[in-house]
Amino acid sequence: MKSARRSNEPLTWSLFAAGGLLAAFLTPPLLLAPLGLLGEGLRFERVRAFLDHPLGALILWALIALPLWHAAHRLYHGLSDLKVGAHRLTYALCYGFAFLVTLYSGYLVWFA
């Protein structure tokens, strides 16, 4: 019972919580946004201009990366709830994927 090694979960949990918070407020309305196809909102120049603004870029990056950390965290714990797979493997797969998406979306947002 005296296995008092410090967990690194404060890191992953904070990303999970940030993603969960963002998703709770923004994902439902965003899912309705394709209705914007009816309007002007999703015109190429308009969205591109949004992305070219530093704040817009940051928002888009957060909207992609943080929910993936949220999903990775719940998937990892859900798999261990279901007793699926070895912990190290599912840990590497879940959080590794979120990490890669974070890098790739960051690249697309800032450097592409």
Partner: protein
């Protein structure tokens, strides 16, 4: 000699099917697949946006494909469940009193839903093309 023979019950991986509370918990956890899945849809859109107008138009056409619409509808239901469960839990992590005065939990919840309504309004107006 001790007559003790403690019996340890196994925990099958289907444990969560036995109790409605646990089924709702698993559903809550499963919403994350759709929340994350939608992140990937956005990523796809971002990469299309980077490739130019043609790719962007193809992306938008993809979004109106019946399969994409089905995904969006299901994901919307799941995302709303995420919102409701999230708003039910997060107030427990917040300060529950200011000095001697407790903050009624109802207010905290109401503030969450108010902000949610505001976010929805802003996003939908933006998507509709309002400046």
């Amino acid at each position: 000699m001790s007559a003790r023979r403690p019996y340890i019950r196994p925990m099958p991986r289907t444990w969560w099917l036995r109790n409605p509370v646990f089924r709702r918990y698993m559903l809550r956890e499963a919403t994350a697949l759709f929340v994350g899945g939608y992140g990937l849809v956005l990523l796809w859109g971002l990469s299309a946006l980077r490739q130019g107008e043609g790719a962007w138009l193809a992306y938008l056409a993809g979004l109106s494909h019946p399969l994409a619409l089905a995904f969006h509808t299901l994901a919307l239901a799941m995302a709303l469940y995420h919102t409701v469960t999230w708003f039910a839990l997060t107030p427990k992590l917040m300060p529950s009193r200011i000095g001697n005065r407790p903050i009624p939990a109802r207010w905290v919840k109401a503030a969450h839903y108010g902000l949610f309504a505001l976010c929805s309004l802003v996003i939908l107006l933006l998507a509709a093309g309002v400046h």
